[in-house]
Amino acid sequence: MERREFLKKCIMVVAGASVPLSALRLIDPEKVLAANPDIQWAFLVDTNKCVGCGFCVKACKTENDIPFDAHVSRTWVERYVYTKDDKRYVDSPDAALYGFTESRIDLGRGEFKEIDPDNVGKAFFVPKLCNHCSSPACTQVCPVGATYKTDDGVVLVDRKWCIGCGYCIMACPYAARFFHPVYHVADKCTFCYHRLSKGLDSACVNACPFGARKMGNIHDKNDPITKIIMNERVGVLKDEFGTKPQAFYIGLAQEVR
């Protein structure tokens, strides 16, 4: 075969083979597993069941070393009261750590508002916590990568690497983050990752006497929580930010932000 002929054929083979070969991709088993991990944690709140006892907040603070007298909390409960004359009141005194033991609404600055029970149109409680978003704004903005999302869907903070700039706190649309009063780094709900990884429920789920808080693996189609999320009408908070929250709510009112 002539050299010219040989080169011509080589080019033809390479060009011809490159098309079907480009359809093949090398598969990295680790990547496949990460894309479809067995576990993807999600939270389910049934607002109809919440009575505002605050046990979840107490359990959370105890379990996760958040001082009781520090005015921050990884989880909290909000009370919404709508009056018949079309006024809306919301409060969450001490993040509902001690429950809602008073009927008057906390207006801040030490002021309170007593509402005539006959004037109450509707009222309900909404427990809140970190939504462990699928596209979290907080992990995106961390300048040092100290906060990150685990493969099983939990957003965590590395206390040894956080520089305490507060950018993640600013970026979170849910105000789920704060500075830990003792460690002086960003802190947030971890879904009690230390308990989850041992097969236990998170502290708040465990403490709720009414089953208003539940957790499940949404990659498991047979998980009862997954079934509820898949089959019933559930909502998420502030979906307009595109963070894809993984805490789902039953009975969410549109005024809840």
Partner: protein, 431 residues
């Protein structure tokens, strides 16, 4: 562990200066306080001072030669101070270096180290090129000196080091410096704008914050940065010239021994010319900055998206005095009128620059603090109370005295830098 923690007096970061009203979420505080107001203010001054110096070096506005050299040196003095408020603000300042060690590139802040260091090296290079001839001449002069004292020996060592071994000051070599300097200044303008535009991006990209989130933010920041930088350079330049005039009159220091030193009349004449031209540029940039800020406000009011109700209450009611009286009226409109009225004098311009600086400070304040004045629930407000008398380190560094420390440092640095890189040189040792 729980018991141990409970013994601490529990004050959460932000609690000392935040007053909450109506419904705010439990974790909401004004986390970014006065130091984060100082951060864009200081970076803005750095960028603005540099842009003023570039007007001469790149665009050849010859009449600005003296104030341009002054701005360049002053920009160098401001440079380390741009980082200071960030360090004072960090909860873990010793880990600040992590931003350079493990930058997480999806974050706007992660680029800070890179952008900042690039900019710093550009300014340092430019200064070196401008002053190389002076360094060599001074070092040679000191080396030729007999009976050198301790101070002069020390100065000689410093100047020898500053030459970086480049002793050639022939005409061709200096011409080469000049060319290189022009390139560095040209390169410096986009980098300076990037440095500050990026500070605007840090705020503008926070989607959770209804007030901050606008793509106009970086552009607004760049314009107001140039405004503040030029204003501060004019102000400092006038003050320094006044001091030099006083020294010339009373024949102090250099004026006592050096016959070629400029006399008071010469100083006054050059001051007048430079201030008049720089203030023209100040006016142009003020128009751009004000237009953009007003555009942003009108756009928000016109589109009236979900957040407008609470923003309107913050802007039009709660912060009305801070925004419309202090920032726009006193900080923008008044100095603008003062400068465009016929018969402008140096004194009037100087007073105007003070007002302009105040206006830019208020703009930063209204953006940073105003952006945190309302709750994410849109149902409550947070009031900021600047800590004045500190009761612990945190209320010092994030209080009035912390902010003043940041504000004073560039002038102290300028004093020392000026010893080796004199901002005012009559002789033609620089270009």
């Amino acid at each position: 562990m729980v018991g141990q923690i409970a013994q601490h007096a529990m004050e959460v970061h932000g609690e000392a200066w935040t007053i909450k009203e109506l419904f705010t979420l439990p974790n909401e505080y004004i986390y970014w306080s006065i130091q984060i107001v100082m951060y864009p203010l200081m970076t803005g001054l750095v960028a603005g001072a540099f842009v003023l110096s570039s007007l001469y070096h790149v665009f050849g506005v010859d009449k600005l030669k003296e104030i341009a050299r002054f701005s360049l040196v002053f920009s160098f003095a401001l440079l380390p101070v741009a980082m200071m408020p960030l360090m004072l603000h960090l909860q873990q300042p010793f880990r600040g270096i992590n931003v350079l060690m493990t930058p997480h590139f999806t974050s706007a802040i992660s680029a800070f180290g890179i952008v900042f260091l690039t900019y710093a090296s550009i300014v340092a290079t430019e200064i070196w090129l401008v002053y190389r001839k002076y360094f060599v001449q001074t070092a040679q002069g000191l080396m030729a000196m007999k009976n050198r004292g301790f101070v002069d020996s020390f100065r000689m060592m410093i100047f020898q080091a500053l030459t970086l071994g480049a002793w050639d000051i022939s005409h061709e070599a200096v011409e080469k410096d000049h060319k290189a300097c022009k390139i560095m200044a040209g390169l410096g303008i986009p980098v300076a704008c990037f440095l500050h535009g990026y500070a605007g991006f840090i705020f503008g990209s926070v989607k959770a914050n209804a007030l901050w989130m606008t793509p106009l933010m970086p552009v607004i920041f760049i314009c107001s940065a140039v405004v503040s930088g030029v204003a501060l350079c004019i102000l400092t330049y006038v003050v320094v010239q006044e001091i030099r005039k006083y020294m010339a009159k009373s024949k102090m220091s250099r004026w006592a021994k050096d016959a070629s030193a400029p006399d008071a009349e010469e100083l006054e004449a050059s001051k007048h010319a430079e201030v008049m031209i720089s203030s023209n540029y100040l006016l142009y940039f003020m128009i751009a900055a004000m237009t953009l800020e007003i555009l942003d406000l009108i756009f928000r009011g016109y589109t009236q998206v979900k957040s407008w109700d609470i923003l309107r209450e913050v802007i039009m009611e709660r912060d009305f005095v801070k925004i419309f009286v202090l920032q726009y009226a006193i900080g923008n409109v008044l100095p603008f009128i003062m400068m465009i009225l016929p018969g402008r004098t140096v004194r009037r311009t100087t007073i105007a620059t003070v007002l302009v600086l105040f206006g830019v400070f208020m703009m930063r304040y209204n953006v940073v603090i105003g952006g945190q004045a309302f709750s994410l629930s849109f149902a409550g407000f947070m009031d900021y109370h600047l800590p004045i008398i500190p009761h612990n380190f945190e209320t010092f560094k994030e209080g009035l005295f912390g902010a003043l420390t940041v504000a004073v440092t560039p002038f102290v640095l300028f004093y020392f830098i000026n010893m080796f890189i004199p901002a005012f040189l009559k002789e033609d040792s620089t270009h």
